[in-house]
Amino acid sequence: MIRDRDYWRKQARTGLTYLMLLIFLIGALLPFAGIFLTAFKSSSELAQGPFALPETWQFDNFQKAWDGARFGTYFRSSVIVVVPVVVIATILSTMSGYAFGMIRFWGDNLLLLLIVLGLMVPSEAVIIPLWKLMGTLGLRNTYWALILPQVGLSFAFGTFWMRAHFKSMPTELVDAAVVDGCNAWNVLWRVLFPLSRPALLSLIVLLFMWTWNEFFLVLVMVTGDLRTLPVGLALLRGRYAADVPVMAAAATIVSLPVIVMYFIFQRHFIRGMVSGALKE
């Protein structure tokens, strides 16, 4: 092989590509590294700069954030909201995605359009009537005020998502099941569901992330202890707000579950967000 100019040019470009990728990668991660390290420091160590390693890795700050700044309470709230939303929305979306994807029925396009509408409208469009509605139902400042709307919104995305998935499944599976005497319900849950793990996992992690990070809805609908982590963090006041390592610990607490989920399921995560995710 002749190592001509073109070859070296290509090598240079590849090298440059890796370099740029590295720079962008570090850029994306450095701020998090900074805040993460700060969460383990004591206030006096702050002066050494954000990226200096803490002398001793203290968990004091986490303790203060959890108890004093009530992040333990907010964590509980977040879990109480996120788990029902994800579970209920996934089940309902699987059911409706199945119907849209595999059964032809009168009005299916119209209904689908209505559901897609929900994908595109921002939460700003619904927040005022929702707030009023919750008041009328007597649900304001309860967890239901957070769970029900988010189930609704997640259902829109989930239906879309699962429909696309079911449409791509081979019909032979269904034929075989039907021959064996399955009705529509069993076809879904006994046959198709076990084979849908990738799609379901993607959906679950996406819904988890969006619901965990939800801010605007929570800000308006609930107060006090019912607040979820992001709102608790944004509205942190008083003595802990002045304590940077405690704030850093609080921010870490807020991010940890999502990051953990992310690392476990990152393949699904990325695939999910990338394939035309339009819920936002």
Binding site: F24, I127, E280
Partner: protein
């Protein structure tokens, strides 16, 4: 691949009835209708009233919209949203394309690592992102310290409180959040571009720029459209980030955005009707642009 069956129009065995489809959809649809659809319709209705949110509404027709048209703050907020489109959409897309253009081999080693890391800003709550960058931009924070260390004393300023630079600071965070998304999208897309096209380009003697323009760019059209829609919507809806970074609109009104305005009018100034009108206008803009882009997308799909 034929996937539609159980159709009422085809002669299907009667063990599946189309009406059962409704049963599957119904539970979710009810919750969706009550908590999403019905509120959307009501926002439109409330926008026609003068209403505090807790006293009796007074019908005023389109007066809210007339007031909106003349409201300087509203136009200012929209302007800022447009400004953020540059930082949320255009710049990250350009960065993503730049990176893709550099790539000569379609598959790189270590891609998983890069992909995983680059995506993390997308995964974090915007509140956490805001807290981190507020700390970074603090007057005695790391960014200014770095500038001092580099001898760039004149550049040190209270970024998020500076009338000229606050918007750019917030925009900068926007770029940081979104560039990973675009890069991941485009790199994945580039990997599926037919290598024959690149060979053909090489044979035809195309240089890097021409190769980019005629092979890479067209091949990435889908991804660019998706990236644009996602980031455009994010730019128009931005709330959490600005709320945390500038505590609601920046120094003076420098970083106020539409969603902040809606929050303020409806929930702090007791003008729910006015806020609803604003929300409706915002929604119309978003839905229109999304629909347009999706139309472009599906026509693409059909063409392919």
């Amino acid at each position: 691949m034929k996937t539609r069956f159980f159709s009422s129009r085809l002669d299907n065995p009667p063990y599946i009835h189309p009406y059962q489809a409704y049963l599957f959809i119904l539970p979710g649809l009810i919750i969706y209708a009550v908590f999403v659809l019905w509120p959307i319709l009501n926002t439109a209705r409330y926008s026609l009233y003068d209403w505090t949110g807790f006293s009796d509404p007074v019908y005023i027709g389109l007066d809210n919209y007339a007031e909106l048209w003349n409201d300087d703050d509203f136009w200012l907020a929209l302007q800022h949203n447009a400004f953020f489109v540059i930082f949320y959409s255009i710049l990250p897309i350009m960065l993503g394309l730049f990176l893709t253009a550099l790539m000569t081999r379609r598959t790189l080693r270590g891609m998983t690592l890069f992909r995983t890391g680059l995506f993390i800003p997308q995964v974090m709550s915007p509140v956490v992102v805001g807290i981190i960058w507020r700390w970074l931009f603090a007057y005695d924070g790391p960014i200014n310290e770095l500038l001092l260390a580099l001898g760039l004393d004149g550049w040190v300023r209270p970024w998020l409180g500076d009338f000229t630079w606050a918007r750019y600071a917030v925009g900068g965070v926007g770029v940081w959040v979104q560039y990973g998304l675009c890069m991941v999208l485009f790199i994945a897309g580039a990997q599926s571009i037919n290598t024959d096209l690149y060979d053909a380009a090489a044979v035809a003697g195309a240089n890097a720029w021409q190769e980019f323009r005629h092979v890479t760019l067209p091949g990435l059209r889908q991804q660019i459209l998706v990236a644009f829609v996602l980031t455009f919507i994010a730019a128009l809806r931005v709330f959490d980030l600005v709320f945390v970074l500038t505590r609601g609109g920046g120094p003076g009104k420098e970083t106020i955005v539409t969603s902040l305005l809606i929050y303020r009018e409806a929930f702090q100034y007791n003008r729910a009707g006015y806020g609803a009108a604003m929300a409706l206008v915002l929604t119309v803009i978003i839905v229109t642009v999304s629909a347009l882009v999706m139309r472009l997308q599906t026509s693409e799909e059909d063409a392919q």
